[in-house]
Symmetry: C2
Subunit: 569 residues, 2 copies
Amino acid sequence: MKILTDRELKEASLSQLNEYCEGLREEILRTVSRCGGHLSSNLGAVELTVALHRVFDFPRDKIVFDVGHQCYTHKLLSGRAEMFHTLRKRGGISGFPKREESEYDCYNTGHAGTAISAALGIAEARDLKGEDYNVIALIGDGAFNNGLVYEALNSVKILHSRVLIILNDNGMSISPTVGGMHEILEEVKTDGSDVRVFERFGLRYSGIADGNNMEEILGALESAKQMLKTGSVLLHVTTKKGCGYPFSENAPMETHGVSPAGAEKKEYSAALGEELVALAEKDERIVAVTAAMTDSLGLRPFFERFPGRGFDVGICEEHAAVLCASMAAEGLKPYYAIYSTFLQRAFDEIVLDVCAQKLPVTFCIDRAGVSGADGETHQGVFDLSFLAMIPNLTVAIPKDIGEFRAMLRKSADYPMPLAIRYPREGTEGPFSDIEIGKFEVLHSTMSDIVLLAAGERCLKIAEEVRLKALEKGWELSLVNARFLRPLDEELLLSLRQKYIFTLEDNALIGGLGDAVARFYRTRGAEKTIKNFGIADAFVPHGKPCELMREFGLDAEKILKAVEEIYARG
Amino acid sequence: MKILTDRELKEASLSQLNEYCEGLREEILRTVSRCGGHLSSNLGAVELTVALHRVFDFPRDKIVFDVGHQCYTHKLLSGRAEMFHTLRKRGGISGFPKREESEYDCYNTGHAGTAISAALGIAEARDLKGEDYNVIALIGDGAFNNGLVYEALNSVKILHSRVLIILNDNGMSISPTVGGMHEILEEVKTDGSDVRVFERFGLRYSGIADGNNMEEILGALESAKQMLKTGSVLLHVTTKKGCGYPFSENAPMETHGVSPAGAEKKEYSAALGEELVALAEKDERIVAVTAAMTDSLGLRPFFERFPGRGFDVGICEEHAAVLCASMAAEGLKPYYAIYSTFLQRAFDEIVLDVCAQKLPVTFCIDRAGVSGADGETHQGVFDLSFLAMIPNLTVAIPKDIGEFRAMLRKSADYPMPLAIRYPREGTEGPFSDIEIGKFEVLHSTMSDIVLLAAGERCLKIAEEVRLKALEKGWELSLVNARFLRPLDEELLLSLRQKYIFTLEDNALIGGLGDAVARFYRTRGAEKTIKNFGIADAFVPHGKPCELMREFGLDAEKILKAVEEIYARG
């Protein structure tokens, strides 16, 4: 499609703008249906973004997109239309704002709630440097629940720097938005009178505008821009998630994140839902907690079956962790399901609230390992490292969905903190009981080399290496290293092999490889240990299998290391 | 002093209660002046706590103390008066609530903002189990700034469980409370009309009571207890920090945390303030950020000299990190000073906002390592581990205050994220320039063993070991391993010694020892590596030197390991 220059955009008529939005919407739909991506949030923000580009002067003015699920139109308008077909592909443009990509992107996001803080920081820098431009934070009502927002609002009066906060209120995060702040916003929308809560924080409230109505949103932005000259402003905009695409309008949750057509595998999350329901039927202590991701994490069946025992607390990862710890302190058995990278937000609470108190909270950590097209902010490659150091915590890594089920069943009576980390998709596998802290020998040979692999994807790579080695006449042993904490010390000590290879889809620093090496070192065992895992780098967007190969989990490379040992004799 | 039984307390006259409070206050003063501890916050909460014990039935009713700086009176009233002289000593009672210590303590705290979440979780468990008791969160206005509070308030309507939140408003955190919420509270206090902001979150506001006036606070609690029968309540109480002790009333910041008489050493924080002021005189880009600890971190001189460039954002560790990242994105040079354990709160923001964006924020991490009498929640023994895995981050560990100054001066033009971690106290040491990523050889000998020690305290232990070994005729080499990231690879490769000992006052899992071992493993170097550091456990309260010895940094043990090697030949 033809992208208007900044000048053309500023001179276009209202009907031209509306037509333009339709074209942009089609472009987004076409690209997302092919590349996958965040659909409904982006569709909802087309008019708002076009209006922003008309009223403000980017990149001189700066805009921070909270989370970044609404930045596609901005990318199309800022010189990236020709690259847009490469969305979320390795080497192509990111699905999130990226400073490396364009001067129109001033701050990278991906996790919820950072935009207001970042806008305040940018505005403060502007003022200290004596410069003059507008700073805008665009944030959805879902992210508006996050504690960072409150911390930032609390700073508006401390910092004295003028920012425009645009609250894009579509009533949804990934799940429908919940909580007290949501109800305040709903009341403001229907009543309009009570906006003093924002004024107290130093923001002038600039009333409701329909963000999908070009004329209305242009007027609202012009007016907010005037108000911004003398102080910070909160512009409250309503939009319709999925706007303009009836299927998405009616199913905004299902079309929040869209996979490219044809991608269908079994998901671990479905097993989580099934197992938790079955466990909870027998055990009244079981409760489930999520930070606004009931469906993506597979908890819907649990929430429907036990509405009083499932808690969606909004995008509040820290609070969710404390809630679990305190419910466990009073005898309940909480399961906290969350994506790996989002759990980073609750690190302190895992350490102190859960583990220092030895409370039996089970963390169900989805999207662990390299998770693909969302890029740096969504790769779950640090979890083994930041969990490895925490005393009292057990860390499990199932080899397939069957073993995941076995771990969940074991967890119900496990009296200590437990973390189970798994990728999005996998294979079902047969169910067999497991023992906490015990590895599983999958192939035992008289060879000199044993592969210790953690998790389904690494075991698959290890099996590939084993079979290729076998073709060359080299036998390898293979062990399912399904616990990071505790390690199976007995099994490790019993291994006669001199060469230990570890495989993990986690950072090489601080994960399984380090733990195994540390164990042998402490025991003074004479082993040669080679670790394979993710390099010391942020992993960008791309296909998981390609990224794993590129960043360190390459079967060929491992095979070469095998070859070197056998060649040496 | 004589402690009243629960029954006596409930039957005492008003004048008896007032007299009782004076006795408790004296007991606290006496004990804190001997053992150290949190003085002014505890002095302010004496009447409030006595009144709570009179109106409610602990331990059947549950109270969560946010942070825990106000729990001394509660400890005295709940069977721990005879042990009170052991406050904060190894084996004695903790300065914070501890479930392990008493059934009157239902939830452990230490970091700000968790109490409302925890109270909600406890109340939810109560309701699900069909039990009936009162749940109270006692939180100060300083902690009330933390994002967790907003996340929890947002859940009051989601969870439907009744809790009593007592906001103990003394206008202070450690520094004076700041920000929008503080101004709302101030307005509520003077005006009283505008409390709808709390009602919106599902809390009935129960007006202002003077928490140091026994009659008034008793009435307020009785009334709140009645209201609690039908819904959640926010009781707003004002107290005077340091109340009843004129010196403390007039200097609440200086007497927030008190060291036992006689403890005086040079603090790293003083050097931070001096150096930052000197750097900022020459470099306009430099700004400093703190989460409510301007004085404890040594930033007061900077804030006074450059009032527009120092930011105290309240107890908002995450927001402070994003603020730093965004200011750096616009060309400023932010220094974020914070205690080691509190930095755990900003883990996700260090990873994504600062390091994934490669922004030149300098983290000045105080109270790193075993920090003593505050116990589990304040021991900075995980920072090297959770920083080690983060790509793009440089991690420095100065050997003394002189080297700390050198690192700070180096940091001003360092274009990447940098973390400098140091203990509270140390020795000045001469100033000499350093190079990023370069270790320093302190003693080079022809011996078979080299000690790699990180930070002042470990270098001191290493030197003790070296001298004792020398007495026995064994020479040891000693290296100041002042960077965890990057390691000094050149130096490590040049070491001829077969035995490498590492010393760090950090968890053994994931710190320097693992990094050095990983390096040699990757290079296939034939070294025998022995790591000394903190064991895989939460370190309780006690004296740092004792705790370090007990949890793994024991000169005798290290000497024994030396002896074994030399005895072996």
